[in-house]
Symmetry: C2
């Protein structure tokens, strides 16, 4: 939560945390608070988070997500190695296609939940959440006997998200961008700036990610997109906690960590235990599935005044006097006019409709377990 | 650079970044700015960095460095596995001893520069700089054939550093603490709080690290130490960029990264190429040594007005019109009354006494290569 800085030339405590290639533009366009993610500053405040939410769902916002660093896997065994890293079956992943995947360790714990991009037969990117998968992958490679090269390329994504993002993309890249299907990618060149464009994002809205492949041209790209979006009402913004919680999307370290397994999150569809593929954590995940999970992620509605912001600690959840879980992400949705939350609780208390208590700043308030996602449960908005 | 927050209960953008067990105490004692390190907030501002520096070198400061997360390695093959992770020869590392080590990848690039603690025959901690060595180590273990358990224990260090830190430690732990030698550790229990204490730190001053082994007792421990230090003039503080640059100590990501090799930093003493030990990166480091390094870290004095804070970008260095390197860490030392810097430059320009130019905010200023460390080059203060 980096706020209140007076002088962008002297922002930060040293060079230990990187600045994004879009840093100057985001400051120019009104970023006033930054967090840190994958050792890089990310703008997280352009004034009101509610205004940012409405900008996103009514028009479109441009978000600097250069912190989604890429792990690039190439070499003759790149496909085989990438499959080793994820429990999702990649045998039908076409060149030009993306998939949301989990990376699991030998215990079946979640290390990251990136978007995987296949750029060529043996050329992959993992577009990361906040952990050093570069080190994990290089570590796995050491004794793997596989011939791969693993590095962090000069790639910095932007997210253009919201219902009018399609119109802005047409203006930038021409009519043919209409054909780009949900979770597919394409190579582009915008006035000499090398890019990959994918129809993905972290908003549950129609949206695109634009992967800059030359860090020296970040501010130039940001300005070009803002200029193209001007007449459509595009606003500078940041990934919206409100919208992503409405959509039940995960934030790594908050809703999942190395001690969380995929079944606890209901992500069984991402785990191919019955196929012949070989991946790290397969035995552990088989055992977990067979034994049955002990905790489960649920959606909650909290019966209290509108929260002023997301929870910044894990609020404990009680059934009678017994602690049975924790709230991982909570926020007030101004559209639903409700406090909504993702929580991890003991499996035997996880039924829809159950009434529980949440302890917030020493006060116990009522909550009820509800279906999630909280809005657009079939993800029709983003995918259609 | 987390500053200007109004309400510690709602500090941050969510639960994605952890709070230290000492968080409440550091806020109570005056922390006003935080950075992020190993996915956790670290206090980096208690008002004036110069005042913090004088507090450190004249008396003592207490620093929350819970962000130095530990990687714990146990199991029957723990010694063999730990040796695999570092080029430093561990054959003489006694139980109860610590060593400053580098962790290198298969290319000889530096992944981290932790302090290694040996707690038992097959029980090690790596006290980390800012990168997920937990993932690296777990990745290496996957196909290693070695029987080890690798996890992050509930351990959160404090640093008590400065010339009177010894007196405060005697008050807390009794006279026997005088025997604790530089880079050795001991187990303690302070009014029921389980601890490890080592004579290490990141200040080049006399100092101790106090590893809390029960995160629920963080604020209690912090307050106990502040109370014990009251009559000696102990101040709350943070690791001092001024003192660590004076001492030529590294800040990972700033002065070294995955593309930096140990020889470029002059850390040959940490690399055992001629022994029989087996470690990751050995072949690559042999090749690098044989071919000779192309860049080298040097110390610089910058001929300009006193810098108002550390550099927040890598300032380019020129010889005539040619870019030959970059300033990695720069600061004004109020004791030396000089602007001092660590820099990485081409080997053929790295001679002591060479005059070069540094570009700071579009202005070229003069600099000269000097010996480093800039103060107490034999590290007598910390080790005697």
């Amino acid at each position: 939560m980096l706020s209140g800085f007076m002088d962008k030339k002297n922002f930060g405590f040293g060079t230990q945390i990187r600045k994004s290639p879009y840093f100057d533009s985001t400051v120019k366009w009104g970023a006033t608070g930054f967090s840190v993610y994958n050792h890089m500053y990310i703008p997280r405040d352009f004034g009101s988070p509610e205004k940012n939410f409405w900008n996103l769902i009514e028009k479109a916002i441009l978000c600097d997500v250069a912190v989604e660093r890429q792990v690039e896997i190439t070499g003759p065994d790149a496909y085989k190695f990438t499959q080793l890293l994820t429990p999702r079956d990649l045998s039908k992943l076409a060149i030009g296609q993306c998939k949301y995947v989990l990376i699991t360790n030998d215990n079946g714990g979640i290390i990251n939940d990136p978007v995987l991009l296949r750029l060529a037969e043996n050329h992959f990117w993992l577009s990361l959440a906040d952990s050093d998968v570069l080190l994990w992958a290089q570590g796995v490679a050491v004794n793997s006997g596989l011939n791969v090269k693993i590095n962090e390329p000069d790639v910095s994504p932007l997210q253009l998200q919201g219902p009018i993002s399609g119109e802005i993309m047409i203006k930038l890249f021409g009519e043919e961008i209409r054909d780009l299907k949900y979770y597919w990618l394409r190579e582009y060149n915008l006035d000499g700036i090398p890019l990959i464009v994918s129809r993905t994002g972290w908003s549950s809205e129609l949206g695109y990610e634009i992967y800059l492949r030359d860090g020296s041209r970040g501010n130039e790209l940001y300005e070009k997109i803002m200029e193209a979006g001007k007449e459509h009402g595009l606003q500078p913004g940041h990934t919206s906690s409100i919208r992503r919680i409405e959509g039940g999307m995960l934030s790594y370290h908050a809703d999942a960590d190395i001690d969380t397994n995929p079944f606890e999150l209901g992500l069984d569809r991402l785990i191919s235990l019955d196929s012949e593929i070989n991946f790290i954590g397969k035995n552990a995940l088989k055992n977990i599935k067979q034994a049955g999970i002990k905790r489960k992620q649920v959606g909650l509605e909290l019966d209290c005044d509108a929260l002023k912001g997301p929870n910044t600690t894990f609020w404990p959840i009680y059934k009678d006097e017994k602690k049975i879980g924790k709230v991982t992400s909570a926020v007030y949705s101004p559209r639903l006019k409700k406090n909504i939350a993702l929580a991890m609780i003991e499996i035997n208390h996880s039924k829809i409709g159950n009434n529980l208590k949440v302890l917030i700043n020493d006060v116990k308030i009522n909550c009820i377990i509800v279906e999630k996602p909280f809005y657009d449960p079939k993800k029709k908005i983003a995918s259609s």
